[in-house]
């Protein structure tokens, strides 16, 4: 590089020539905003290399001729042009840029002036993005940055949102961006795979570390999008990087800031959902009675029952009497027919309070400054079954030991205490193609799925019980006795050292140590329904039907028996994280002849992460008796027989080392070239040395067109063109190049022994997942920077992705994971910020951004089964997007009201072979991407004197959603019904008018017509159960008022402000076919709850 620099210097040197009549111009440069003197401002004669800088007082002096134009440039301020004319003193006021170009881009490795930055990155200031009342900072990114899609899949505290930067880069692996806090990668607390986020399983709450960060500590987010921006992250950056910078101390006066947010939750209501009222429900139950589906014999042995079943059981026990001629007791049923229970009212809290208090202190001198903060979050919960407390603290100290040597020290800690409803992990049933979750007591699922004719309380105000899992059940009691306690403790310490070896050479070092532990304790009290279900053996029918009873092989002839004679369960999951990180780098930077700026950075980093996960199931824990444990030996046998372990431990050790080299050259801040090479190694691919290391690289350039002399467009303030090409990578899923043997215990009635099995054969061909990206973009500012914006276009080719293929089977693995898939994607991003109006004290500003990315799998040898392809989350099929939604082709109801389908030959059938992989494309209909391709946001900010109004809309488009399962061959009087059941098929001929299938009669149900039964499972996944996912959401509206200084001082403060904000208030647009289902939210039960509707009052006071 040096070699070709020399001629450039020579060439431009020619232009340095005298022009005669020169005079010495002097002047002072100050800032418009506060009149401060500005030292270090570059003063340059246009079209010449002659330049100077202002001194400590903002003064300068330069010789120039009257025809020259002086250019005043300074980072963070607009360029000022002055024609010399006959003046000898030229004082200039520089206006601070409110635009992006004035900033620095913080990549985590270095800070680069925005105008010298060649990559695609977006900065989001917390002060602008903040939605008061939101507890997870990353959720605030929704709609803020073009090309960043945030799906808030659950509103339960701790669930990380699904975030995509420029769509997906992996088919089966992680697409979540890398989070970097103050220069160090933030490790997840435990490993939750990419698709697990939407499962609603309890581990999703303790996966993300972000939930531990107090949003008030965050200064800004930097979203690094293209290969150039992320180049220094090498083999971890394929999915983009979000750099979080936390606040730091300021020299000067000691300042104390308090902010308090008080939010109230608004509960959901039935008007939002498509659920029948109890009168309609009872008519369905009556039809079920008439069809012989509910009667005295079925009710006695029913697993679950509601009012109808309860009546028959009471009749059986002769506690109530029959109606005339042995008809149902109408008087009894009427009580429930009119119950019309509002489960939302029962299970969700009214105006439940969430408080966040945060206090921070900054103070310092020139040699030392500090930032301390403490915060407390207390959320009483949306529902009666959840609540959370979070405590966090930060201490940051910066020391300037000498002019050359400085150090930052940081200590952060947070602790979380959370309670959520008890839940089991969900299971996929490949036979029906459905997910199941037994013992689910998720309040939202319960409210949506439970009959409204069931009552929580009886006439005397006592809890009223119905039956679930053969045992008495009342949801209010169950949430009290069946819950999960979550504890998270997370502590980290970090040191950043900066040593200027010479004026041009700086040595930097970052060290971090972190320890976090997570505990989930699932308490299943002995009186909970989940424990009582193990003791449900009232009648022989139930004994034979209850799967939780044990058939003892050593007691032949006996009926299945209870193996949990007393007590409940105490299931504990623990995760532990130990993380050490060291990075050392050397920066060298120099400017030659005022125009050639060269900087080089070289460095090395090492990461060491150990994770440990342990699960212990306590069986027969008697909580009321001091927690003594009485485990029946037969229970152990019962579990062993089914291959279930009560203790599990697993460790995960990650070792990572990388070397990097970055070089940048800029000419006169006009032409900028940048290149990065990285060489990374990881132990994740096993001991195979050829797979262990991977080099990545990137080249990029930028052209600040506005600095060209020929560029004379007065209304354009700046224009920068950028281009990037490079390679980045990520470790794929299931990555092991070496033979992977695992141990287990044999599942047999006798001769139990430990054995080993081959999890994966050696794969010496394995390598990292990679991405080539080409990005072009431009940034501009116009009309005095009242209109600024940025646009990017990119093409990406993800290759060597890990895919699954079917093999000949001869080697031992019928299916293998390997680098066998490619995916292409392209997209664009546009962001525009405008100042629409400034009249006296009134301003109106608008920020708009939109991003769109389309991905297409170009190589993947192996299709999923039909059962996998029709699920809610979609599936990867060649030629389609990463997750495509597929539907069974509904062909109408037959003459008995049973749904039918077209098969691949167009013939009408009741069933498909759900295991089929070959004919997937011809049997199923491709609906579209199951993940949003486009997303964006629009915010309008109005300021009038001390008032501000912020209206923020977010939107997503171009994707499809599978409606929640609502139909089943068999219904119980425990379940709610969709309102569309009113239009169900009742009599022959109805098939002409309705798509809602008939309630099957007993004969069909029990006649072994399995095809008819599976037709209902297909129906849930059919073309009629699809909706467009596009939506426009009024995400937040905030009205703020900041007290004028004199008013603030009257209360003893320097600054004070109050605001009221409403979030998630309404969906301005969504597909009517969704019938109230939130397109962003997957109703998976477990611990998932919808995004809360919150109204937050916030107070900020600074002293």
């Amino acid at each position: 590089m040096m070699k070709f620099l020399v001629p450039i210097v020579l060439v431009f040197g020619i232009f340095v020539q005298t022009r005669g009549q020169e005079v010495t111009i002097t002047g002072k440069v100050t800032a418009t905003s506060n009149g401060d003197q500005l030292p270090g401002v570059s003063v340059r004669i246009n079209n010449s290399v002659r330049a100077t800088v202002t001194d400590m007082n903002g003064d300068y002096s330069i010789s120039a001729s009257p025809a020259d134009t002086l250019l005043f440039t300074f980072v963070g301020y607009n360029v000022e042009r002055q024609i010399v004319g006959q003046r000898q003193v030229i004082n200039v006021q520089l206006e601070e840029v409110s635009t992006e170009l004035g900033e620095v881009v913080i990549t985590g490795f270095q800070e680069v002036q925005r105008k010298l930055f060649t990559g695609s990155a977006a900065n989001v200031k917390m002060s602008e993005a903040k939605i008061t009342g939101m507890t997870d900072a990353t959720q605030m990114l929704e709609g803020r940055v073009a090309g960043v899609t945030v799906d808030n899949v659950s509103g339960t505290f701790g669930t990380s949102p699904k975030i995509r930067i420029r769509g997906n880069t992996s088919i089966n692996g992680d697409n979540q961006p890398l989070f970097v806090v103050d220069g160090v990668i933030l490790e997840d607390l435990n490993n939750v795979s990419a698709d697990d986020i939407i499962t609603g399983n309890a581990n999703t709450l303790t996966a993300s570390s972000i939930a531990g960060i107090n949003p008030d500590d965050i200064e800004s987010f930097q979203v690094l999008k293209d290969a150039s921006a992320t180049a220094l992250y090498g083999t971890r950056a394929k999915s983009g990087v979000i750099v979080i910078t936390t606040k730091r101390g300021k020299s000067g006066q000691t300042r104390v800031n308090y902010s308090g947010n008080f939010s109230i939750h608004l509960r959901p209501s039935y008007s939002q959902f498509d659920i029948m009222n109890s009168v309609d429900e009872m008519s369905v139950y009556r039809e079920m009675y008439e069809k012989g589906l509910i009667d005295i014999t079925t009710s006695v042995k029913a697993q679950n029952y509601g009012p109808m079943g309860k009546m028959f059981n009471l009749l059986n026990e002769k506690q109530i009497s029959w109606g005339p001629n042995y008809t149902p007791n109408e008087e009894f049923l009427n009580i429930y027919e009119t119950a019309n229970t509002d489960w939302f009212d029962v299970l969700f809290r009214d105006y439940s309070l969430q408080q966040q208090h945060s206090i921070s202190l900054t103070s310092g001198t020139e040699k030392h400054n500090s930032y301390y903060s403490l915060s407390f979050l207390n959320d009483n919960g949306q529902t009666i079954a959840d609540n959370v407390k979070r405590y966090s603290g930060t201490a940051k100290n910066s020391f300037q030991f000498t002019n050359r040597f400085s150090m930052d020290l940081k200590l952060t800690a947070n602790y979380r205490l959370q309670k959520v409803p008890g839940t089991q992990n969900r299971d996929f049933d490949p036979i029906t193609g459905r997910y199941r979750r037994d013992f689910d007591i998720n309040p939202l699922s319960y409210a949506l799925n439970t009959s409204r004719s069931i009552r929580p309380y009886d006439d005397n105000g006592e809890l009223e019980y119905f039956r679930r899992n053969y045992a008495p059940f009342n949801i209010l009691r169950e949430v009290e006795l069946n819950y999960i306690n979550i504890n998270v403790a997370d502590i980290a310490t970090q040191a950043d050292i900066n040593y200027d070896l010479t004026d041009n050479l700086t040595f930097r070092s970052t060290l971090q140590g972190r320890y976090a532990t997570t505990q989930r304790e699932h308490v299943i009290h002995e009186h909970s329904n989940q424990a009582e279900a193990y003791r449900a053996d009232d009648t022989q029918y139930i004994q034979e039907a209850n799967q939780l009873l044990f058939t003892d092989p050593n007691d032949p002839g006996a009926l299945p028996k209870v193996v949990l004679p007393e007590g409940g369960f105490n299931n504990v999951n623990e995760d532990e994280l130990k993380n050490f990180y060291i990075r050392n780098s050397v920066d060298w930077s120099s400017t030659f002849n005022n125009v050639h700026n060269i900087s080089v950075m070289a460095g090395q980093e090492v990461k060491y992460t150990d994770r440990m996960a342990r699960r212990v199931d306590g069986i027969g824990v008697v909580y009321e008796n001091g927690g003594i444990v009485n485990t029946d030996p037969l229970m152990i046998e019962f579990l062993n027989q089914q291959g279930i372990q009560t203790y599990e431990i697993s460790v995960d050790r990650e070792r990572f080392a990388g070397f990097f080299l970055n070089g940048a050259y800029s000419f006169n801040e006009k032409y900028i070239f940048n290149g990065t090479v990285r060489y990374d190694g990881s132990n994740r691919l096993g001991k195979s040395k050829n797979a262990r290391y991977l080099p990545t690289w990137n080249v990029s350039g930028a052209w600040n067109v506005d600095r060209e002399s020929f560029f004379q467009v007065p209304w354009i303030n700046y224009l920068k063109l950028r281009a990037t090409y490079g390679l980045s990578a990520n470790l794929g899923p299931n990555t092991s190049a070496l033979l992977n043997l695992r141990s287990a215990v044999t599942l047999r009635p006798t001769d139990v022994e430990t054995y080993l099995f081959i999890q994966d054969l050696e794969n010496s061909d394995l390598t990292w997942e990679k991405l080539n990206e080409l990005n072009v973009g431009f940034d501009f500012g116009a009309y005095n920077n009242r209109v600024t914006g940025t646009a990017d276009f990119y093409k990406r080719n993800s290759f060597d992705l890990i895919g699954q293929i079917q093999t000949s089977g001869v080697g031992g693995n019928a299916f293998k994971w390997g680098n066998y898939a490619d995916m292409a994607s392209e997209g664009f991003e546009v962001a525009i910020n405008t100042v629409n109006l400034t009249i006296n004290d009134f301003t109106w500003m608008t920020n708009f951004n939109v991003g769109y990315a389309r991905d297409r799998i170009t190589r993947l040898d192996f299709n999923p089964r039909i059962a996998d392809a029709v699920v809610q989350g979609g599936a990867a099929v060649i030629g389609g997007p990463r997750r495509g939604l597929f539907s069974t082709k509904f062909a109408g109801l037959d003459s008995r009201g049973i749904p039918t389908y077209y098969d691949d030959t167009g013939e009408v059938v009741y069933n498909y072979d759900l295991q089929d992989r070959e004919n997937l494309r011809s049997i199923l209909k491709f609906e579209g991407s199951a993940e949003p391709r486009g997303a964006g946001g629009l915010s309008n900010i109005f300021n009038y004197k001390n008032f501000s109004l912020n209206v923020f809309l977010s939107f997503k488009f171009d994707y499809k959603i599978r409606l929640d399962d609502a139909f089943s061959p068999r219904y119980t009087d425990f379940s709610s019904m969709p309102r569309s059941f009113v239009n169900r098929w009742m009599v022959p001929g109805d098939e002409e008018f309705t798509d809602v299938p008939v309630i099957l009669d007993k004969e069909t149900l029990e006649g072994g017509f399995t095809d008819y039964l599976s037709a209902y499972d297909l129906y849930n996944n059919s073309t009629v159960r699809v909706a467009d996912g596009s939506y426009l959401r009024l995400k937040s509206v905030r009205l703020g008022y900041s007290l004028p200084g004199n008013l603030a001082r009257r209360i003893g403060a320097n600054t004070a402000s109050v605001s009221v904000e409403a979030q998630n208030m309404l969906l301005l647009y969504s597909d009517p076919a969704l019938n109230g289902q939130d397109p962003e939210f997957f109703s998976t039960g477990g611990v998932a709850l919808p995004q809360p509707r919150l109204i937050t009052t916030s107070i900020t006071i600074g002293f």
Partner: protein, 474 residues
Amino acid sequence: MFSLLVLGSCDRFLEENPDNRVELNNPDKAAQLLTNAYSNAAYTFTEWMSDNVSYTFGTTKLPEHDQAYTWSEFTGIDQDTPSQFWTSTYDAIAHSNEVLAVIDNMDGDRAHKQAVKGEALLTRAYGHFMLVNLFAEHYDGATADTDPGIPYVLEPETVFIKKYTRNTVEEVYDFIEDDLLEGLDLVDDSYYANSGKYHFTRNAALAFASRFYLFKGDLNDCVKYSNQLLGANPSLYVKNIPALLEERINTDDYVRLYHSPNDDSNLLLMRQISNFHLPNLGHWPTRPLYSQLFEINPYGLTDERQDPAWVAGENGLSATKFEFLFERTSITSNVGFNYTIFLAFRGEEVLLNRAECYIAQNNVDAALADLLVLASRRYREIPTITPAQLKQALRSYYGSTNDQLNAFVYLLEERQKEFIHEGMRWFDIKRLDIPVTHMLQDGGMITLDEEDNRKVLQIPQAAIDVGGLEPNPR
């Protein structure tokens, strides 16, 4: 120099195992790996292809049931399909090969290593033996060196995609013979914990040798290895069904006794993931077929094997041989796999193999003596008779004076009855060119000819498409 140093220490840093994977570095772990060298896939789907079943009404028919019943190509790849048997058996073989690749150079007690090696050779031979007999022509000395067999895998796979080709039947049999004989020589029961019945004991290996040489047509060796097992008192290796019926408390208990590892006749037990044994699925012997099999016999006595039986569908019966076991994915879930314990080798088979050799060698009396050992524990209150008396009885029963033929037909009927639902009938149909006729739901008949191509299962689709293996002719 510096960078080399850094990279060197880096390599050590990155050596760390990423998880709890087990390293194969001692004979105990090698033995544990071999515990999984037994395929958990069933080949009992061949029952639906055999003359042991007829059209059963009222059962659920999955695609594989109808495909097997009509000798069509199987499309499924899950339990009870040839494809599953193929992949699962090769998976088992991979376990053997991982052990064989390292056992010789491993630290540890030499005798233990030898015993482990013996088991690995036997499991490798057994897996390939079952595969070649399902997916290739039966061994025929005249054509075996050109008949396409299956790939015989001798080393672990270490690359992402490896190409394999089919060895000839002759080559496969030669490899099996090598592995079998060496394994038989090395195997040592004293290293097995528990009953050892889920592993190749020496007895199981002898039973395997007996079957191998019978199928290969090597009568002398078949007799030789059968003798080594049966010794002086063959009845030790014949299940005492009347005693079991006496002892049982109920039907479930009978099933457990039937495949108990404590019964000397049970030589090799294997866990198999299968839906085969569920009476509400697939095809079963219909009641007339069942009584034709069991009720009509030379003795005119009750055959103890016919009872107890489950009702299967509307018109079928299922002899109670299999325990209904279920592997649940989690305790609260009803999702999982049905599995059962399967008897891969039984003493009765060795006795019948030897009898068959005796018949082929025209030593009818010796054959009938063996058959009487079996009969005495199968027919209710059978009087003690001599082989000569049985010979007479067979003459009148079959209406033929060809004693050799009578004995052979009687032997085949005994094999069919003894191993009903166990998949053995298919190999007899195949090696002895027995035609099969099936009645369809509408009353129509279809036939599998004596030398029908479809008696050789097609190589699984994936192995043809992805693996490039030559398909069998159709």
